[in-house]
Amino acid sequence: MTGLLVPGLVRFVWTAIRLAAAFAAVSLFLFLAIRALPGDPVALRLKNPSPAQVAAERERLGLDRSAAVQYVRYLGHFVSGDWGESVRTGAPVVRDVRQFLPATLELALTALVLGVTGGVVLGLLAEAARAAWLKRTVFALGMVGLTVPIFWIGFLFLLAGSLWLGWFPPGGRAGPGIEAPAGTGFLVPDLLLAGRWGDAGNALRHLLLPSFCLSLLPAAQVCTTLRARLQDPRVGALLTALRARGLSPAAIWLRHVLKLSAGPVVTVAGTNFGILLGGAVLTETVFSWPGMGRYLVGAVLERDIYVVQNALLLVIMMVLTIVYTSDQLAGWLRQPAGSAGRERDRGGAG
């Protein structure tokens, strides 16, 4: 047990150090980039200020202090959630993030679930099936998923699902007049918890098309990774041994093969979550989804500095946290499987 805990603890500490270093680097980059911008940030906050007002505001914001002190104050404000006000929306950045971030997370998480499930099912199907046409079909689907620009396939989905079939709405997060109830910020679960089944169904129809579009890349990557793993000769030998022991195909695939594949699949899923958040920016634009991506792009283009230096830092740190954590989780998943396998092998030999 200690043999497993100590490496796990070391990995956890190492991940925390890497995250802290990345946080320092990204925040410093944003701080310096915003300082390099032409113009006075005070002028952005105040309309036609007098010199006295400018001086008072500079003192209040700490802009009259040294760069090092300003950087430390920036980190302090970030950690305490004092993120200032957005020039564009006029609302506190924290409130905007609370509104837009759950929308993006709802989209990305749904896409991740769809992508991983679809990728695992297709990967297992292609390997378990003997028909060559099925293998070729899965390969072709994987190729499309890996290469197709999601902002283009999104438009094709809109054409097919909304214009031709009329099954899905053309965009947005919910139909007109549907107010989000207080809760997690995830619209579909919140509406379900509030017992508004009709509204939940409406929100789900809005969610399905963009999340399916976003799920294509993770599905293709999971499917490709899984197939590569299953084509490993050692896995082939294991399957032969399990068949020789008289296990049913269902038991072999569901109990052993899925467990073997969990590590790589978790790594791909974790890495993909970052890519999904990036892809969500594109999908949000195609489907008029009111999420964090559109909010950030607008903020960057319009130099909304309080949004940029806080919300962009938050999203990048979220991405890095997920990527590093999934790396750690994948390592943890690999270890017990190998140990258990070795123990079984020893038991079997004895």
């Binding site: 290469t147 902002f151 283009w152 438009f155 214009l163 990036g278 940029v308 962009l312």
Partner: protein, 261 residues
């Protein structure tokens, strides 16, 4: 060239690049104002866009611009990756973990966010997008270059060449390069495909500056409002993009020896 997909990729890229020297009509001139949003025909192969411009000419010039920008981004990306590799392999001992740590954090950030980070202090423009795509793909290129280098540098033929007194230039040019060439070309194609995808994605978001610039992603953005009225204005730019990306992917798969199915 034994790989037929390599030949196809070359043909498609040359065809796309020809959009700089020839298009059926001027892609910027509003010469067909009376035929706005008309479908494909003999005069306008892919129809006319909402501002009365020949759409085939805009897609062709857009493909040329996308391919050109991606080529520039690929060269820049590989140069950055090689510079990082030189620093990591030849620099002082304390630099090596620093470079590796930097790349480990950098690779986790999606290219789109790298683009947004750059756009915090740079103006939206073609060079900014090229820089964003190249810097966004650089960590991946660095890791691949590093793997190639580590695989080759301790091979017997390299040791033999060093023992025979080969100079550093000779070693790189005559000994290592012929063995690295194929893998490096595959890496360049992969980076090129990534740059095409990322550049058009960033352009689609409107980060290219000029809203009227003919680039495949930018064309999609310009015409998305006509999706339900004249779908071909959205279908064609994306289809060209998809064909370029698919051919490069298939060419790389064929080169790596993976069998389809």
């Amino acid at each position: 060239m034994k790989n037929k997909f390599d030949i196809l990729v070359l043909i498609v890229l040359l065809l796309a690049a020809a959009g700089w020297v020839y298009t059926p009509h001027d892609p910027m001139e509003q010469a067909f104002l009376d035929d706005r949003l008309s479908g494909p025909g003999a005069e306008n192969w892919l129809g006319v866009d909402g501002l009365g411009r020949d759409f085939a000419s805009r897609v062709w010039r857009g493909a040329a611009n996308t391919v050109g920008m991606a080529a520039a981004a690929t060269v820049l990306c590989l140069l950055v990756a090689l510079a990082l590799l030189a620093l990591e392999q030849g620099g002082p001992g304390w630099v090596r973990p620093g470079v590796r740590g930097l790349v480990a954090a950098w690779i986790g950030i999606p290219v789109l966010f790298v683009g947004l980070l750059l756009l915090v202090f740079l103006h939206p423009s073609v060079p900014t997008l090229v820089l964003a795509a190249s810097l966004g793909s650089a960590p991946l290129a660095f890791r691949q270059c590093r793997a190639l280098w580590l695989e080759q540098r301790h091979r017997l033929y390299v040791t033999a060449s060093i023992t025979l007194g080969a100079s550093r230039g000779h070693l790189l040019r005559r000994t290592l390069w012929p063995n690295l060439r194929i893998d490096f070309r595959a890496l360049a194609k992969l980076v090129f495909a990534l740059c095409v995808l990322e550049l058009s994605g960033l352009a689609f978001l409107g980060l290219i500056g000029d809203p009227d610039f003919p680039e495949l992603g930018s064309l999609l953005r310009q015409n998305q409002t006509y999706l339900f009225r004249q779908a071909s204005l959205v279908v064609w730019p994306g289809l060209v993009l998809f064909v370029i990306l698919l051919l490069i992917q298939l060419s790389n798969i064929r080169n790596s020896g993976t069998r389809i199915g």
